[in-house]
């Protein structure tokens, strides 16, 4: 046994990348990790990644990266099979973790939506809701962002392979602004900003470019959305505007959902 294990290198962990309703941007992050890509490919066996390869190996997979939300009956079934095939299942991006921008249908009559886009609506088969993966199957880790941060993705894969907890903070964008030494655009500039309730990860990009955070990393741990809503009203934002701000790429995340619906009720 031992002589055989010396001759044979250890089996590389198998990774699969699976797409549901999405823009492809989060899985592209893996190909955008130009400095790390070849290193990752040496450490793992990229067994199923149709965007990158014709080779599509069967499961089971050690790690499954899932992009996109569930919007069709077929996909609701397919995610069950993907879960069965993946030892560790990681969802990547706002679609997979919160339903994505396409979850805006969840407040509307989806049949009416389809009539707007399609000439012959009866051919379209879609669910009434766009829902995150965790509403369908157990998920081992949710990586936030629209799009995800590629360095967080590499950290997450590395940590998972090493069996340790990934170093991915759940505090707010405000902390990132403080660290960068940004002057607060909300306090000093009167600009509406979702930074106080949004999870860090982007590097406080929008405030660094003189605009308010639009919440693309979704709610932070325990966000005080009610307090932010009052503050946004003081800055002169109408309830329609505040509702739209929460109803963006993470609209269906329950904390943002609740905040937007409260603005509609007042």
């Amino acid at each position: 046994m031992s002589s055989e294990s010396k001759r044979k290198p250890a089996r590389k962990p198998k990774i699969g990348v699976f797409k549901f309703a999405s823009c492809d941007g989060c899985q592209l992050s893996l190909l955008d990790a130009e400095d790390e890509l070849l290193g990752v490919a040496e450490a793992v066996d990229i067994a199923y990644f149709p965007e990158a390869s014709r080779t599509m190996l069967k499961g089971p997979y050690d790690i499954g990266l899932v992009e996109g939300s569930i919007t069709t009956h077929d996909d609701a079934q397919r995610i069950q099979e993907v879960r069965r095939q993946c030892k560790t299942l990681i969802t990547i991006g706002a679609c997979a973790t919160a339903g994505g921008i396409q979850a805006l249908r969840n407040w509307k009559d989806v049949d009416q939506f389809i009539r707007i886009v399609y000439a012959t609506p009866q051919y379209i088969s879609t669910l009434k809701l766009s829902t995150p993966i965790a509403e369908h199957v157990p998920v081992d880790f949710e990586l936030r962002g629209c799009p995800i941060n590629k360095y967080q993705l590499i950290e997450l894969i590395t940590a998972t392979l090493a069996g340790r907890k990934p170093n991915i903070p759940s505090y707010s964008v405000c902390i990132e602004c403080k660290r960068k030494g940004n002057v607060c655009i909300a306090v000093a500039g009167g600009i509406a900003c979702l930074g106080p309730v949004t999870q860090a990860g982007c590097g406080a990009l929008c405030p660094s470019y003189d605009r308010g955070c639009y919440g693309c990393y979704g709610p932070m741990e325990t966000p005080n959305t009610a307090s932010l809503t009052s503050q946004l009203r003081i800055l002169g934002q109408s309830d329609d505007q505040i509702s739209r701000a929460f109803r963006g790429f993470n609209a269906w995340a329950w904390q943002f959902r609740k905040a937007s619906e409260e603005c509609e009720r007042t």
């Binding site: 797409k19 130009e34 070849l38 490919a41 390869s53 009956h73 707007i116 051919y123 879609t126 003189d210």
Partner: protein
Amino acid sequence: MSGRGGRTIRVDTLARVEGEGALYIKMAGERVAEVKLKIYEPPRLFEAFLRGRHFSEAPDITARICGICPIAYQMSAVHAIERALGIRVDPAVRLLRRLFYCGEWIESHCLHVYMLHAPDFLGYPDVIAMAQDHRAVVEKALRLKKIGNRIMQLLGGREIHPISVAVGGFYKTPTKHQLRDLVDDLEWALEASLATVRWTAGFQFPDFEQDYEFVALRHPDEYPFNEGRLVSNRNLDIDAAEYEDHFVELQVKHSNALHSVVRGRGSYLVGPLARFNLNFDKLPEVARNAAAEAGLRPPVKNLFRSIVVRAVELVFACAEALRVIREYEPPAAPRVEAPNRTGVGQAITEAPRGILYHRYALDEQGLIVTAKIVPPTSQNLRRIEDDLREYAAQLVAWPIEEATWKCEQAVRSYDPCISCATHFLKVVMEREDTRLGTEAC
């Protein structure tokens, strides 16, 4: 296998394309009986939920149609909305938008040439396998791709869904000094792009020429990105506002997909081949010379040579980025005011894969009343099927596995982006199985 009975080329999951599609070609003897490019990517209904959103949100929302070419969506969105509002941007903003597009073209073309398309020509399943034998080439490709991403990061904070594009300009514009930091990288990138032209020109190309209607923007002074009239080699010459008078989406029974066609004529081709053939004279000398050395003379009618044309466009994008950086003076303000008002505006810009049309109607509060978006891949879909019908007929004597790979390669020549196309495509829900394979019938 090509005997009396029919046979079928079938690819259940098309690889190395953006989004989810399947390919099905049925042959009856020497004849191609049926071609279907099936799209099972779910619809995301962007045009519907854009209604009621403020125009200032459209660049960020429509970017999410495609993670591969978000800047194209942002550009078509801001130009259409600026037209609806009747505002003009600062010339420096116009330059920066060209530079932004250069970044996206470099990244996207490099991704396609090296990581999605070249493995077909060299016989590898993917770029990772290709890197085992061509490590230096792949490392160079990754560096080139990263330089495209660097431009987008500088101007937009990040390469996927950048955050700086605003109606009227940018949220924040860079300093001259920041742009000058890109020059060394871009000079290297220009050389690497020239090497890419030489490298791809040495591939073996199937002998397959078609009589295409090429459609692209054309501008009097420059190779097109954001402005120009829409022209074709069949006498089309229109403004973006006339687009819907000349192009129409048809419903196709066999595929349940809407296909865009030129009214009264049929399929057409958008993207690098169309741009190159219609705007060759607007390329900078360095790109024209590279094309000549590679044996490319317009009109290039061989679809498979689009990989070389993409490489020539890489040369253009690097040279153009350097020109913009030389000429750039920061604008007085990052953006001009964009007050709410009613209006309708259309715009066409050149995404890496071809023309992208947006139209918005706005109300007095600046809220979107209706939106229409026609992405490049949906414009190419019918042309892809037409090509496959012709091309598969040439492959009847080939072993089925090789014929299948060749047909996949033909589809990949278009660099199709199915994620883009499906915000309006009919979705075929009949997914037979998830097996990659072929079958005789």
